[in-house]
Amino acid sequence: MEKAKTLFDVIGPIIIGPSSSHTAGAVRIGYLAGKIFGEKPDKVTFKLYNSFAKTGKGHGTDKGLLGGVLGYDVDNERIKKAYLDAEKLNIEYKFEYAEDYNKHPNAVDIILENKNIKRMEISGISVGAGEVAITKINGYKFNINGDYDTLVLIYKDKPGMIYRVTALLQGQNINIATMHCDRNAKGQEASMGICVDGQISDYIINELKKIDEVYLIRNVEVLKK
């Protein structure tokens, strides 16, 4: 669905330049990846593809991605100093550049690591005008664009899981806007990305934690736009 145009699509947003797709978009992808990882990473590796790889340096795509992981918004003037800020926080970072035309022109894979979570791989794309999508988490397909609060779950694939989660949301009178499910193989692991109207409460997160064999639960909050 194409969103209705508002006045603030043409005047604003306020961003760190120079490019809405290659700078602001990069910040948002990094930001969402940081939220999905959910803890301070010890090490972050960014694999930039295609146009992100070719023109990224000139657009500050690298600094945008890293600044986003550090939790910066698109208008934070520290983005330019993201390398320095990451070093101060003892976060090791690395950028790799590649061509892969099976991927989107502005694509990035972000690998976040620390002692507790070990390793997560999150893929994102910048689709233009600062709009982005997280397309994969640990190999599972998602579509997280920051327009809604989004519940991210990875769990053991077994009957009744989707029902349990959606019933919990219904019980809290939360409307589901869109839903994305994926799995690696029957009976192994599966994923759910649920965008909701309104907010996902701590109560919901705590109830989800009580369900056996849910390996990852994240509430990725709507982006400030």
């Binding site: 145009k5 006045l7 208008d75 003037e77």
Partner: protein, 299 residues
């Protein structure tokens, strides 16, 4: 309230309700976003403040962009003005330097307000801020002007994506210039008709403008283009305020732009595969930067 899909509808609406374009626009925005008109205006003020801050920081800086291709042009103009040399009036000098100051901030990873895009962010602010200074207009009038600019961009974007990759630079710096012309006409108390004429006249004369950035960066020709089109927007306003009309009505001008954008080769739409980007000098810069960054990447 009817949904305004084109300029003829909205002009009709201003007549039946006896309101200025910005008033119609802020009411519509308030209804669509379910916030009060005052909140709409306060959001516009935030953007205006960011625009003023970008001009202020930009005027003080000579810092080069990541590529080194730009960053000190505004300083060169200011240096010349300090010596009392210029072909221009105070107003024109301010438009030129404010526009350059803003777009250079963008190129050096400073904070800017996209208007309508990052690569065209200098044009609207330069016109509004410089003209408001010239007229001693208060902040409310500046907000009225910025909403007027926004209305132009919004209605154009109903038909035409405001992205160089889709419709060329006519849809970025070109539309920004039309937005700026409309804002200036509003600041000079032009009628609703004059405001739309100023936008139409401006759009007609940038039709077909290509997007051919050297090395794919928002610098060459974008930075200097912002300066040129800031001044150019004043021409649109000046003509409209004299009662000069576009023979082709604005809605038809936008349709024509859309058609031209579709006919334009993809090589001239932000892909850096033709035009300035593939001149011998453009290619050499691209090659040199690519080598420099590869070396940095492998470190």
């Amino acid at each position: 309230m009817i949904k305004q899909k084109n300029f003829a509808d909205i002009l009709e609406d201003t007549k039946t309700k006896n309101k200025k374009l910005y008033e119609i626009c802020q009411i519509l925005e308030s209804q669509d976003s379910e916030i009060s008109v005052q909140e709409v205006r306060s959001k516009v003020k935030n953007i205006l403040d960011a625009m003023k801050a970008a001009v202020k920081s930009g005027l003080k800086s000579k810092e080069k962009s990541q590529s080194g291709m730009c960053g000190d042009d505004c300083a060169k103009l200011l240096e010349m003005y300090k010596k009392g040399q210029s072909l221009f009036s105070e107003l024109h000098k301010n438009v030129l330097t404010y526009s350059l100051a803003t777009i250079e901030q963008n190129a050096r990873m400073g904070k800017i307000a996209a208007c309508p895009t990052a690569g065209s962010c200098g044009i609207v602010p330069s016109a509004i801020i410089a003209v408001a200074q010239e007229l001693n207009a208060d902040e409310e009038k500046e907000i009225n002007a910025l909403i007027t600019a926004g209305l132009i961009g919004k209605i154009v974007s109903n038909k035409l994506a405001l992205a160089g990759a889709v419709a060329g630079c006519q849809s970025e710096c070109g539309v920004a210039a039309a937005m700026a012309a409309a804002a200036v006409t509003e600041l000079y108390d032009g009628t609703n008709e004059q405001i739309l004429e100023s936008a139409a006249l401006t759009l007609k004369n940038i039709m077909g403008l290509v997007c051919d950035p050297v090395a794919g960066l928002v610098e060459v020709p974008c930075v200097k283009r912002n300066a040129f089109l800031g001044i150019y927007a004043l021409t649109g306003a000046e003509l409209a305020l004299a009662g000069i009309k576009s023979v082709i009505p604005i809605d038809e001008v936008v349709d024509a732009m859309k058609q031209v954008g579709e006919m334009m080769s993809p090589r001239l739409k932000e892909s850096s595969e033709a035009g300035l980007a593939t001149t011998p000098t453009g290619l050499k810069i691209t090659e040199d930067l690519s080598q420099k960054w590869q070396e940095e990447n492998s470190k």
